[in-house]
């Protein structure tokens, strides 16, 4: 197993940041290589971490699907495309204190694609923000677990989202606040790719670049599918990375289901001083269950009893 060290050339030794990476990590990241030195080291500790994250993500998917089945409503396809990103963030990247959710110096995370609340809640429970049994109340009358997250009700939730295109402006403001307060915390925001059709994202994209918010990280869950159909058939968003690059962001592309890559890049983010970071995470909608994968139907399809059983069995038996 290897550890890769991402280091900016101008950084000194004390600025080295260490991040675990899968041993089959071989693809050069889409960061400009001239700015980076990448070295790798043997370790055994990372294997445990990757295994832990893999198991956690499996539980998150199983619970999210059970929650949607219980509520008879939800968005399992997007829950599954985002699950690995959420788990990597909450269990491997974000500086948080689950026992003290409002710790002032915590990193901020905004789930802009708020309809994927089941995956978020399951991840928050996994990270220890609340007890797992609360997940069983998903969308029940008077539950704290609304269909879309409410920061006033759910420990660990930073923003009330649901209508698309709110998260990036919010995160931009959070990053501005950190700068004004001279605080070290970072702000991460996860959007869908179809969601980026909302113009408010691009208003914020311009603003974050103008203000050089190098404490802001946008992650695009690029699963290629929106409610009605494949994104490219509705309103094409490609070339996604080029769009952000042209807006003045530092862009990296990763496999959004590879914990090695996610930890390397998210852990090294923000990637460059003076620029906001956009990580295009290439994902598969419904990832983890064969009959859910890459099928627009599963955007908000509620599994039947049989589908649930099949999906859970498949997740349970998954080797990866």
């Amino acid at each position: 197993m290897l550890i890769c060290i991402f280091m900016q050339k101008q950084f000194v030794e004390s600025d080295l940041r260490w991040f675990p990476c899968k041993n089959n990590f071989h693809r050069p990241l889409a960061v400009q290589s001239r700015n980076w030195v990448v070295t790798m080291r043997e370790t055994t500790a990372t294997e445990d971490l990757l295994r832990r994250l893999t198991l956690a993500a499996r539980r998150v998917r199983m619970r999210a699907l059970q929650m949607v089945h219980h509520a008879r409503i939800g968005h399992p396809g997007g829950d599954f495309s985002a699950a690995d990103i959420l788990v990597a963030l909450y269990l491997g990247v974000l500086r948080l204190r689950p026992s003290d959710p409002s710790w002032p110096d915590r990193d901020r995370f905004v789930l802009s694609k708020g309809h994927c609340s089941a995956a978020l809640y399951a991840t928050l429970a996994e990270a220890g923000f609340f007890e797992e049994k609360v997940l069983g109340t998903f969308m029940d009358p008077l539950s704290i677990l609304n269909g879309h997250p409410d920061r006033k009700k759910v420990p660990g939730v930073e923003a009330n989202t649901g209508p698309l295109g709110h998260g990036l402006p919010l995160a931009t403001g959070m990053a501005l606040a950190a700068r004004m307060k001279k605080a070290a915390w970072r702000t991460f925001v996860l959007t869908g790719d179809g969601e980026l059709q909302e113009g408010s994202n691009w208003e914020a994209g311009l603003c974050a670049a103008q203000y050089g918010l190098d404490n802001l990280v946008l992650i695009v869950d690029r699963n290629g599918i929106q409610q009605g159909d494949f994104v490219e058939k509705i309103i094409r968003m490609d070339p996604m990375a080029d769009k952000w690059r042209s807006f003045g962001w530092q862009v990296a592309e990763v496999n959004g289901h590879d914990f090695g890559e996610l930890l390397c890049v998210l852990g090294s983010s923000p990637l460059l001083p003076g620029k906001p970071t956009c990580i295009v995470a290439n994902t598969v909608k419904g990832r983890g269950v064969s009959f859910m994968e890459n099928n627009p139907k599963w955007h908000h399809h509620v599994p039947t009893d049989k589908e649930l059983a099949l999906a859970l069995a498949e997740l349970e038996g998954a080797e990866r």
Binding site: R151, L170, T172, G173, L176, A204
Partner: protein, 322 residues
Amino acid sequence: MSESMSSATETFDCRDIFAATLEEMAAEDQRICAVVNDSVGSTKLGGFRRRFPERFVNVGIAEQNMVGASAGLASGGMIPFCCGASCFLTARAMEQVKVDLGYAQNNVKLCGMSSGLAYGELGPTHHSIEDLAWTRVIPNLSVVVPADPVETRSALQWARDNDGPVFLRLSRMPVPRLFPDDHRFIPGQAPVLRDGGDLTIFANGVLVFRALEAAVRLGRRGILARVINMSSITPLDREAVLRAARETGAILTVEEASIYGGLGGAVCEIVAEEHPVRVRRMGVPGVFAPTGSEAFLLEHFGLTAEGIESAAADLVRQRRAP
């Protein structure tokens, strides 16, 4: 136009006291910041930008991001005053106002500048007469329409101290000073500016002094009008409305806004449910206003001392008729 008070009295553009107060508060409190949509001149925040450049954010012509980013700033512990022309600040970013401010309870102070008919000649695109109806229905959002410089200053200070989202609806139309220095804006408390038993006039913003003038003129005709400054739209002083209904039996509402959904709508809801009496609403009566200066348009819609006097006299006559 009303002549007696406005010609005899010094008038003030409340944006001046707004900008001065905001700078003063920012000097005292590091959490205060300003967010604008390329509206530095019209918000008169040039001085703020010079003194506190690191706490001044210009998002450009982008109101959704302006309100969303303000919510993020608030969530990060700042107290943002989010300032732009009221017509764009509200309409263009309404969902952000609802979700990021009202629902998420982020501590943002929306400052809607040049509200009402202030941009008269520019036409209905720039008139902001719907903003009170839109903001009034959003839970957790306080809605305040100050009447003069003293109240503008006090409302700003209150907004700073009140942990929650506020919509301050400000105007550029010069108004005389109505309140003594020690007047304090108190949410949900509508001060009686002049007492009377024949009818009650509820007014706010730039029309309060005109309502007072109308009351003076009514007095000369033997009609005693109670005039109440309803600067606090949310929360609304229900007791003041019910006392007016019980004690004066007729209510006239006067606002530089659509008669639908704003102050007039709010008063009617309470009166109709709790103590029905005759109400007449003055404002813009459900039309897009024609072109003309703010003064012209106010006159066009009868929002002058004479117009208010005449409507009030009619109302009292109708009430007294069998």
